[in-house]
Subunit: 185 residues, 2 copies
Amino acid sequence: MPRLTDARKELRRAQITEAAVRCFSRNGLERTSIADITAESGLSTGSIYAHYRNKADLVQASAHAVLAKRAEALGAYARSDTPPDPDELLARLIAGIDPVEARVGVQTWGEATNNPAIHDIVVATIDGMRAMVHDSVTAWLVKVEHVEPAEAAERADPIAHRVQSLYLAHLLYTALQSPAEETAS
Amino acid sequence: MPRLTDARKELRRAQITEAAVRCFSRNGLERTSIADITAESGLSTGSIYAHYRNKADLVQASAHAVLAKRAEALGAYARSDTPPDPDELLARLIAGIDPVEARVGVQTWGEATNNPAIHDIVVATIDGMRAMVHDSVTAWLVKVEHVEPAEAAERADPIAHRVQSLYLAHLLYTALQSPAEETAS
DNA sequence: GTCTATACGATGATAGAC
DNA sequence: GTCTATCATCGTATAGAC
């Protein structure tokens, strides 16, 4: 197993998806052409197809990268020793939103309504996020509010749902705030 | 001014956008071709281009139709004599969601991140909706809770924001629930 | 692995008959 | 106004040299 080679390969793949995400943020998932990504990444068509089977594969990898990054940040709060109260949790989640990622994130929502592969990624991310928010809220109820663990998990349900929803809505607001820089249609 | 002719024209335009919305719901804004819409509407290419300058124009009209329809339903609650309390208002808003429109609605959010014309439509609709929710909540505070009108408007602010956000999130959940029926990528 | 050049298909849009 | 037939363009993906 040539680890170093694999690491290099993964690095190239990341370089490509990062360039792709910037393009998607500007021009959208579908209106971004492979040529756009070659220009943004400095690489060539052939190089991109050496790392990704096709465009759908690249879109999928990019979507996964963006969504996983957001979920990862959330996980830190969920595992915190001093869990924030729901309002504080929401405030931190919102503070962590990056406009570029927000735009691509919202684009993936639209794409998820038709594209099964993207649908699965989005749903898995949202579900995973809900679980983490739920954990964080439960921990807060137990450790700070001193609620019985058994009861806390149940009471955390509607709170977690509310925090998640408000966060998703804010993601949408953020994506709509920053003006489209370059596009047509 | 030939009213009757204009009415017929408007009817044809509506017929086309309705077929378009069904296609968009299945295949997405960009992946829907003019050929798809001719098949769905039973009309021909030429007929469509006789009523819409180009595809962007048709997408715009369809997006406007879908979003305006949702906002219109909301307006009825806002003007009600016996305004519902926030939880009830939210419940009614959610109950009125149609899966097909939810999918197209979420697609327009993604499109709004790049397409200025769609962006303006989406933002205007969301802003208008917020105003109506705000009116409804204010009316509830005044008529049911007997809050002073001056104070009610101010107190309605965060409540309206919460209702709107929870509603938008639920729109997303709905759009993600119904599986994609036919697509590729 | 990365490049350039190119083949092939799809699709938006138009022309012109009826 | 509506149709069919057609054009022109664009974009994905591949081939083959280095």
